[in-house]
Symmetry: C2
Subunit: 535 residues, 2 copies
């Protein structure tokens, strides 16, 4: 069960490792589901009250017509309460083995999961496959392994003996982990499984029944996990209502009713900062958030400006800047940068960057496959509004995806600003929007990046610098505001990607979120140790 922070994976991210039949079965399952409609979420309810979801494919540019079982919030909570004692009685070891089994069953559905993710989030097929499937499952493995460690940290029994001189004082002691209550996991629209599965599985390991409230635009992908977890508990002889889904619609949300219910003791949330902060302020609830953030790229110097640009343009284009880890603000000194023996002025850097970006997005295959599609119309509206900005040096244009002619795919917009234009770049501009900010010097870049991290939150910082002393300074300054730094990423390493077992995701120290995938607090906040004594 032990592992280090070296590379580790339990599920292959390489599509070629899976046989063609599994892939076809996945496609078929997906097509059946969206044509036939009804999900097979096996929730305990006698009536069949299916309703059509708000899910919309940005590739087909139409609603999916998928249907889900709708249940009143109180009924869901009652089911959850009824399952509580049962989950409590399952040993940590059995929970681990049941949950591991559920992942194996999800693995058989990785391709269905990939299509479901693609057509709800707008991620490319490859990203949909990797992020929702193997990467999410590896994060689960990491979580349940850490949970297993934390939950078995103390011995179940000790015979405590204290020498009192004339005799020994002997007390038997036991240590137990007591669950906190029902956990609500609120999903986001862009990463419906990757961002939610750790909270779901961490809760179940700790004995907390789970209610999953997916984003109304992205229900299908996480429904696959919920189905397989329910299935695994049922097969092991337990009440499957240990995990349930609470489905709602874009125009008829139920989240407020759920979060304010007194039976809900834990909330995992991925989404906007305003609602996240509201949740963090709730009394008597343990709340885990990942909120919005504004990520910086600090460009100081490099040994290869072309590789820098290729890496950076890929990172800002990947899923059209809809990743919480994507850089938004690229800080470049007004004096330009050194690259090996050469130096490049600020304008020359901008030219190299936009050229590299154009090359990527206009490549007939790599372009649309990197960009994916815009998940929702708000993002497109924001993009089109900024597209007329007077300092736009590269406007966003629609990119043709030959496989999906209706696809909502757009190239990133690049706007050049001065550091004094703070108000224009200090907020998150979600989507394919990049600001190149001209700063006085690198120290100024760092100070601005820090100020944004403190006030708006940052999940990542990408940095290009070849001076060891400056690297150490940047690391120390950005770490002091709880932002991890990725230095000199080139080639196949991208700042956007946080690997299970190695890269902690969100530090929890700045406004981008209050929790980390996965440190021990992510587990320990979900249960209570109680020690009893017997004479």
């Amino acid at each position: 069960m032990k592992y280090t922070q070296n590379y580790k994976s339990f599920f292959s991210e390489n599509i070629n490792d899976y046989n063609e039949q599994i892939r076809l079965e996945g496609l078929l399952a997906f097509e059946n589901r969206i044509s036939e409609g009804k999900t097979n979420i096996l929730q305990t309810l006698n009536t069949e009250n299916f309703i059509i979801s708000s899910e919309f494919s940005p590739y087909y540019n139409r609603k999916l017509e998928s249907q889900y079982l709708s249940m009143p919030v109180n009924l869901i909570i009652d089911n959850s309460i009824a399952s509580f004692n049962e989950l409590d009685k399952i040993s940590i070891e059995s929970r681990y083995s049941i949950l591991e089994k559920s992942l194996k069953n999800v693995e058989n559905r990785f391709f269905e999961l990939a299509y479901a993710t693609m057509h709800t989030t707008g991620q490319s097929f490859l990203m949909s496959f990797q992020a929702s499937g193997p990467h999410a499952c590896d994060r689960v493995m990491e979580t349940i392994m850490i949970a297993n460690d934390e939950l078995t940290k103390y011995p179940s029994k000790v015979n405590w003996q204290k020498d009192l001189g004339k005799f020994n004082l002997i007390i038997d002691k036991d240590y137990r982990t007591i669950s906190k209550g029902i956990g609500l996991v609120i999903g986001c629209s862009t990463f419906p499984t990757w961002n939610s599965v750790t909270g779901i599985y961490a809760n179940l390991m700790c004995g907390n029944p789970v209610i999953v409230k997916p984003h109304p635009l992205s229900i299908y992908p996480i429904a696959i996990f919920v189905e397989e977890i329910r299935h695994a508990f049922k097969l092991a002889g337990y009440n499957p209502d240990i995990i349930q889904m609470a489905v709602d619609f874009i125009d008829k949300p139920i989240t407020n009713e759920l979060v304010s219910h007194e039976a809900i003791k834990l909330i995992d949330f991925t989404g906007n900062s305003k609602f996240g902060e509201l949740l963090e302020g709730l009394k008597n609830k343990e709340v885990f958030t990942e909120k919005a953030g504004v990520n910086s790229c600090i460009v100081d110097s490099t040994d290869d400006v072309q590789k820098l640009c290729n890496n950076l343009t890929f990172s800002v284009s990947l899923y059209s800047g809809q990743m919480c880890t994507a850089p938004q603000n690229i800080f470049v000194p007004e004096s330009g940068i050194n690259s090996g023996e050469d130096s490049f002025s600020f304008d020359e850097f901008c030219d190299l960057f936009t050229t590299s970006l154009n090359n990527l997005v206009n490549h007939p295959k790599a372009g649309p496959n990197t960009l994916g599609a815009l998940q929702n119309t708000n993002t497109l509206e924001r993009l089109m509004k900024l597209n007329t900005h007077k300092n736009a040096i590269l406007k966003s244009v629609r990119i043709v995806n030959s496989e999906f002619p209706e696809s909502s795919t757009y190239s990133p917009l690049v706007i050049v600003l001065d550091e004094a234009d703070f108000e224009s770049y200090k907020e998150e501009n979600f989507g394919p929007i990049v600001f190149i900010v001209k700063t006085k010097n690198t120290k100024s870049s760092i100070n601005i990046a820090k100020e944004i991290a403190i006030n708006k939150g940052s999940i990542t910082c990408l940095c290009y610098c070849v001076n060891d002393k400056m690297i150490d300074y940047i690391r120390s300054e950005m770490n002091s505001v709880y932002v991890p730094v990725s230095f000199n990423f080139k080639g196949a390493g991208f700042v956007n990607q946080h690997a299970a077992f190695s890269d902690m995701h969100v530090t929890g120290g700045n406004p981008s979120g209050n929790a980390t995938f996965t440190d021990s607090s992510y587990i320990n906040r979900r249960f209570i140790w109680v020690g009893n004594r017997y004479m």
Copy 2:
């Protein structure tokens, strides 16, 4: 560094293990300090602004006239901020060794510490010695050992390699612990060191400079720790302002100014529930509380009612019920209890209990040595008010302490109530006040104890029961509201005592507090992991 939950101690609690000279030196130091007045708290300040504290000896029945350096809050915070970078640069290993060294120096002053504790808290000399000295220091050792484990959990560096088929993606990664900021530790009047040292040392291990705000009635004991920690940092070549004291007076408190200061990022608090809850609600501060609680004793059955009564009367008498772990409500079924082959009616049990209590408190030596003295006049007023209760079966009387004729020492008051009198016993009645509550049966006792734990908080539950099935039921029910149970304590095992390395103190799961001495959350909430990547 590893330990199990078996008995472990680094400091002897046996006074006979210390030589007579150390004891005399301690007494002399204490007497010098309270006659000469000025403390030698070496805070960085050019002016000498000493003021007389509110400390009052319940044994001498007079003010101590001790003096402490008074500094404006802003100056203390500025000093703390100035020490921040320095503490940050001390390695975890060095922090551990400096802090361990400070304990060794405190050990040389255990007797001074004992007298200081005795004459500010009213604890007996033996309890003052043990609780403030070896027991507090053992809890520190536990805390810094766990902190060391948590702070070194991830490797400082890894070389991460991922096989991408044609080549390996290689990324160097490092993992760093980033401190959260200045930690304020607010002490209580009854256990000025035991309840505060874990927060102080945990913060220092995690890189958070500390400001100690002792209770104005109990400054001297914790001042000894602060002095020795400052001394140890100074000796190691560091700025001693890494830890400072902020002293105030009963009629001119500074706590609100401190807790609302934005530079304070962590607060450790032991004290009343109202203020504790206010602190828990503060935004952007990590808050650790131990608040009030109402502890139950559930009497179901026993194999030796006399031993039961002897143990229970000692637990309610020890330091006159001023321990946060002391039982207040003794629940006994109206049908009485079985003891081995015999059975005892409710009234017979009450008789045995009060007889045992009388024997203890009226013993010329054991009585005053167990009871100690009442720490403050509020407790005495509360006691005297309830002493006229119509159902008092044993009234509180003043107990003569021949060594300290002025001592504020009183025997416990025992009142018999019916379970229907819930309003009368549901609150904490701090001090030597015991309610024997007649319940319908043991299940009723459990339900009431649970309700009190949920609404008012409980730190401990003592239970007498010889039926294994019922033991398991009681354990499970009380654990479900996050209360640990001590079963069938007799002889030298007392529910009041929580041993370092073995008994977690306060579960953090009910209103008696939100933190535990010492689980990993107690450490992990004080710092942030940040991982950086390098290509």
